[in-house]
């Protein structure tokens, strides 16, 4: 499913989107398939499936540890695409990974494999727009969106370039730093949302972990919230994981709807 279709569907229902991240293969491909099912059942509208990299510089300790577990368990790009193809939930799947894995496979082949396995968006946190011509071109050819980030230190000029190059949605990093859960919502969230003047849906991520925070972000004007580390923490706990994932997704989705 394409990302734009999903946002249209939600718009008709007057809902905002919950975008959930999990790291593929943490702790196994089969488990990830189950977890995605639980997340969607709980209300996740889009699933970001992380393809683990050995050196994830944009990630905090939670997702670093998840990447290590997944790599240790044998996840690699080949098994990743098999896993993606086997996920049958009716939501857009987005690949989140670092550029070396894409470059090594060949940009064209990587994007083609995404499209063939039902992935309709790509986020590459270490690929700024200046280096992204190859992947944007390949994505256009294969019907995959390239999602770029904006941050509190991105100026208006740069934002405009990012809006022009990006598709699917704009990923708003609401605070300086790496991924991970935080107790509060960044004060800069409202400010930055006001600056993000685009027709693309605006999704806010980095630090959101509960329904209350989700509601605040939506109230500040966002079209979607992105939650990763909070789900990954549940997976790391190995305790009633499916149930807890579903429950947290439900709480967050409720936050998106108030």
């Amino acid at each position: 499913m394409r990302i734009a279709e999903k946002f249209q569907e939600l718009k008709a229902k007057k809902e905002k989107a919950l975008i959930a991240y999990v790291c593929a293969g943490d702790p196994s491909a089969d488990a990830t398939r189950e977890y995605v099912h639980a997340l969607v059942k709980g209300g996740a509208d889009i699933v970001e499936l992380g393809l683990p990299f050995s050196d994830p510089v944009a990630d905090g300790p939670t997702i670093q540890a998840a990447s290590d577990r997944a790599l240790e368990a044998g996840m690699n790009p080949d098994t990743y695409f098999e896993l993606a193809a086997s996920i049958k939930e009716q939501v857009p799947l987005v690949c989140m990974t670092y550029y070396n894995l894409i470059f090594r496979r060949g940009v064209e082949k990587f994007v083609k494999d995404c499209a063939a396995s039902g992935i309709t968006g790509i986020i590459v946190p270490d690929l700024p727009i200046e280096e992204a011509d190859d992947i944007v071109k390949a994505c256009k050819a294969h019907g995959v969106d390239t999602i770029f980030m904006v941050t509190p230190v991105t100026d208006n000029d740069r934002m405009q370039k990012i809006f022009n190059k990006g598709s699917g949605f704009i990923y708003i990093v609401s605070r300086l730093g790496v991924t991970g859960t935080r107790a509060d919502v960044a004060k800069s969230t409202k400010e930055i949302l006001e600056k993000v003047n685009t027709t693309l849906p605006r999704a806010v991520g980095f630090g959101i972990s509960n329904g209350k925070q989700a509601a605040e972000v939506i109230a500040a004007g966002a079209d979607a919230v992105i939650v990763g580390s909070a789900f990954v923490n549940i997976i790391a706990s190995q305790n009633n994981v499916d149930e807890q994932l579903e429950q947290l997704a439900r709480e967050l989705k409720a936050g998106c709807s108030t």
Partner: protein, 399 residues
């Protein structure tokens, strides 16, 4: 717009949040590198604090042994015991002119961390250094040296707990504190403009060599040999000679315990010689990686050479054939370490011992010519414990 690159290599592969900081750094550097006040102050620190210029020393006994005239560029005599301070004093001064309050750095063995601590203390910065937990354990004295100078040392427990992971963690700090903090990277690696800035600050080595060799010999050397981890002492000594195509340039990498890969670990650190194109820590360069693009850990007896990547400009120069990469293994480096101690009364760093070992390795080929300059990038006092432990042989335990 594509960012400046070295052929296919280089670029800026970093999170979006760092792009404004890289732009600011590039603009400020372009401005201050032409600013007479900045240059005067830099020169003052290089002379009065770092102790430059360093001698170009004719190693008579070594020359005799290998039948060629060998000069050692004595970077081991720079304050702190290595070439690292050339770069840290330059970048710290730049950070001061830029109005930054805090500097951070990564370090492997602790040489760059120590040089950062020196510059940080002297210029009044809050200073933090990231260091792999394994290296903290192996290099206790350097940790203590940094702490004495007021630097906060953060042990890094992610990944392989060595240099590559320390760089990741320093990048994470920078992403979080980018507005107040300058990331003082320690070699000619990372995103543009770092490879250029570090090269420029280290070029003082080659600039001095050129003048000194003309004074002593009335001609340029036939070849220059330097060890290469990230590649900063190599780029620094090579750069002023790039256009002098009669001067052969040999970067020497760590051959470690052999050219094979065991599991997730390459038993060497020879990214120029055996690496493949990829993207690591901000730059497109040659890296040690598996077939999927996961980064391999590297191996070397010398912590300063133990890195899975190499500077993009070196990758480019190797590709064009202007430089000719070589490697020596742990044992060869150890032998060269002992040889210099006995023949010249100089204790070299294990990193620099790789460059020395290459002389021996190439002696019979005649490739190096009659007049050779070796970059003696650092002194070996920091390595005595390692050397003592390895009496039995460099690789027995690892293989």
């Amino acid at each position: 717009m594509q960012k400046p690159t070295y052929g296919r290599f280089g670029g800026q592969f970093v999170p979006e949040v760092l792009m404004p900081a890289l732009k600011e750094l590039e603009e400020e550097y372009e401005r201050y590198k032409k600013d007479p006040e900045f240059l005067r102050e830099l020169n003052y620190y290089l002379t009065e604090f770092a102790g430059r210029s360093t001698p170009l020393y004719h190693a008579r006994n070594l020359s005799k042994k290998y039948g060629t005239k060998i000069y050692l560029k004595r970077e081991d005599l720079v304050h702190g015991g290595a070439h690292k301070l050339n770069n840290t004093i330059g970048q710290a001064l730049l950070a001061k002119y830029m109005g930054k309050k805090r500097i951070i750095a990564e370090t492997g063995a602790g040489q760059h961390g120590t040089a950062t601590a020196m510059a940080g203390a002297n210029l009044g910065f809050e200073t933090a250094v990231y260091m792999g937990a394994k290296d903290v354990e192996r290099q206790k004295m350097n940790v203590y040296r940094m702490e004495l100078m007021g630097t906060k040392v953060h042990p890094v427990r992610s990944g392989s707990m060595t240099l590559k992971d320390a760089i990741n963690e320093a990048l994470r700090d920078w992403v979080t504190n980018v507005e107040s903090t300058h990331y003082l990277i320690g070699s000619v690696v990372g995103p543009h403009p770092y490879p250029m800035i570090v090269r420029d600050f280290q070029s003082v080595i080659g600039t001095e060599v050129k003048q000194q060799i003309m004074e002593k010999e009335g001609r340029l050397p036939d070849s220059i040999v330097a060890c290469a981890g990230g590649g900063s002492n190599a780029m620094g000594i090579f750069y002023p000679f790039i256009a002098d195509t009669d001067v052969k340039l040999f970067p020497v990498e760590a051959g470690g315990c052999g050219m094979q890969v065991q599991g997730k670990t390459a038993m060497h650190s020879a990214s120029l010689g055996a690496g493949e194109e990829g993207i690591l820590q901000g730059a497109r360069t040659l890296i040690l990686q598996d077939k999927y693009g996961q980064i391999l850990e590297s191996t070397s007896v010398s912590a300063g050479l133990d890195y899975s990547g190499v500077g993009p400009e070196l990758a480019y120069l190797a590709q064009t054939g202007r430089i000719q990469p070589g490697s020596v293994n742990d044992q060869e480096a150890l032998d060269a370490f002992h040889e210099l101690c006995r023949l010249e009364g100089i204790i070299p760093a294990l990193e620099s011992s790789h460059a020395l070992a290459y002389i021996k390795k190439m002696a019979d080929t005649g490739e190096l010519g009659d007049l050779v300059v070796v970059s003696l990038s650092g002194r070996g006092d920091k390595d005595l414990e390692t050397v003592l432990k390895l009496k039995a042989g460099a690789c027995e335990e690892k293989l």
